[in-house]
């Protein structure tokens, strides 16, 4: 799939996309500043299919959806963390950025390792070390939303059914 960018605990939304760049909601322009204050090299090195691996409470802070949007538009395929802050968690589902909670994988992946994720099974493989990890499955309600293509599509269908 791609290589891992590894970060610590409490990566906050100001670190993911600083407020000074919130003068646009264009995903590609947000992506140009993704992780800027935390890891100035991220934007230059990230390639489509890469993954972010982080510790506890990833995405804490502001409600800005710009944070998962910037990560998704940067080419990151998935974020694996020990735990997520709640608004970031909900926003990621709503906008269709796959996120997985898996403390074992976080402990077992180093910066630059090649990582493969199977979203169907939740199996995370560190291709560099050959180790595999099982992420917690998504709750059924969220699976349903992901299946309908995120919250926007889910609501679209609901509005059509309700005849609005």
């Amino acid at each position: 799939m791609g290589k891992a960018f590894v970060y610590g605990d409490h990566v906050d939304t100001d670190g993911i996309i600083p407020a000074r760049h919130l003068l646009t909601s264009d995903p590609d322009r947000l992506a140009e500043h993704c992780m800027e204050d935390l890891d100035a090299e991220f934007v230059g090195r990230v390639e489509a299919g890469d993954v972010i691996v982080a510790g506890r409470n990833f995405g804490c802070g502001s409600s800005r959806e710009h944070a998962p949007v910037a990560i998704k538009a940067s080419g990151i395929r998935c974020v694996i963390a020990t735990s997520f802050a709640r608004i970031f968690y909900r926003n990621s589902f709503n906008i269709g950025l796959p996120i997985l909670e898996c403390p074992e994988a976080v402990a077992g992946i180093s910066s630059g390792d090649a990582v493969h994720v199977d979203f169907q099974t939740g199996v995370i493989e560190n291709e560099t070390t050959g180790k595999t990890f099982q992420a917690r499955p998504f709750p059924p309600f969220l699976l349903q939303m992901v299946d309908s293509g995120g919250l926007t599509n889910y609501v679209k269908q609901a509005l059509e059914q309700e005849g609005k």
């Binding site: 502001s62 608004i87 679209k156």
Partner: protein, 425 residues
Amino acid sequence: MGMTMTQKILAAHAGRANVEAGDYIEADLDVVLGNDITTPSAIREYRGMGASRVYDPHKVVLIPDHFAPNKDIQAAAQCAEVRGFVKEQGISNYYEVGRMGIEHVLLPEQGLVTAGDVIIGADSHTCTYGALGAFSTGVGSTDMAAGMARGKAWFRVPPAIRFELTGKPGPMVGGKDIILSIIGKIGVEGAQYKSMEFTGPGIANLSMDDRFTIANMAIEAGAKNGIFPVDDVTKAYVEAHPCVNPDMKKEFRAFEADPDACYEQTIEIDLSEIDLTVAFPHLPENTHPVGEAKGIAVDQVVIGSCTNGRIEDMEAAAKILKGRRVAPSVRLIVIPGTQQVYLECIKQGWAQIFVEAGGVFSTPTCGPCLGGHTGVLGDGEVALSTTNRNFVGRMGHPGSKIYLAGPAVAAATAVVGTIADPREL
């Protein structure tokens, strides 16, 4: 099994007799809130949903407060987009520059939120309104769009931690010291995904402004919401701040937790033991009593924000600054939360005190709190601020540092030039 206060409000808004922690529900919304940063994305998603009319033009509240008054051309474009949407949809709760304020100070003051409401806002500090006995939580722009389109939001019913408050806070100790010391105790993810329910006899000793400050920072402990029971203080506040929009038809409803409600944990807090508290960089959980922070030099002091931009905060700062001067090495920036708070500062003579002391006294805005404008920090600069986040780069350059405290400590620090204990001035 009994329900917590939060669970009761959610059940009532989901049309259910009972909910349990972990249930997924869809709840009816009394208010959907957005600001100049989050609304433009929400408008795009709203269009993507195929929606054409908002579910109720009197229940959507849009406030340009973050980069407004427009800080630059892009900010002007974002605010204009919000304004255009307001016109198109006939939204009655829009506050233009000159009438606006920081959303979380403004909504309760204008009576747009009340006890028993379910409120979502595309701003993380929407949890502030829990102080009134409402369920109120921050969401992203897509949730806001869905809320505007259907008047509903999905929630996972949260479990709760109960905070049993006793005693009376000491002199100058306020809501900010209480919530900072709680976050210091439980950590920035101590209430992750959960409700923080405040109960106990100590609550009677807290003003509404103290409660707003405490509920406001529930998010800094990772909580979904913070909530206070409805008492005489709440009722008096709501009576004094009736809803300015007759089309909203607010209904004040007091919900109480069941006696056998299930809490994951009960934490006892004796308010009389809480000291003036300062959070060190770069997390709100890095708290210390002010005594341990004394002597740290600062370049800038900010008094304001949705956490501490209310009347009592301005009064606390003015009392200390009266007849004193800001230290030559310090820039003091005072930003009242709303036009009403601003006007009160003028009427009470506090505005004059701030200006005579050598401080900036600005129109309401979020401004420096998010490193937006009106006091952005440069590399290596240190601020003491009454805002709510001290993350790396939050108020400007990633090389700057932020200490968080209440208004009394902030005012004393501005005078001394290093972090100071206002009781010793």
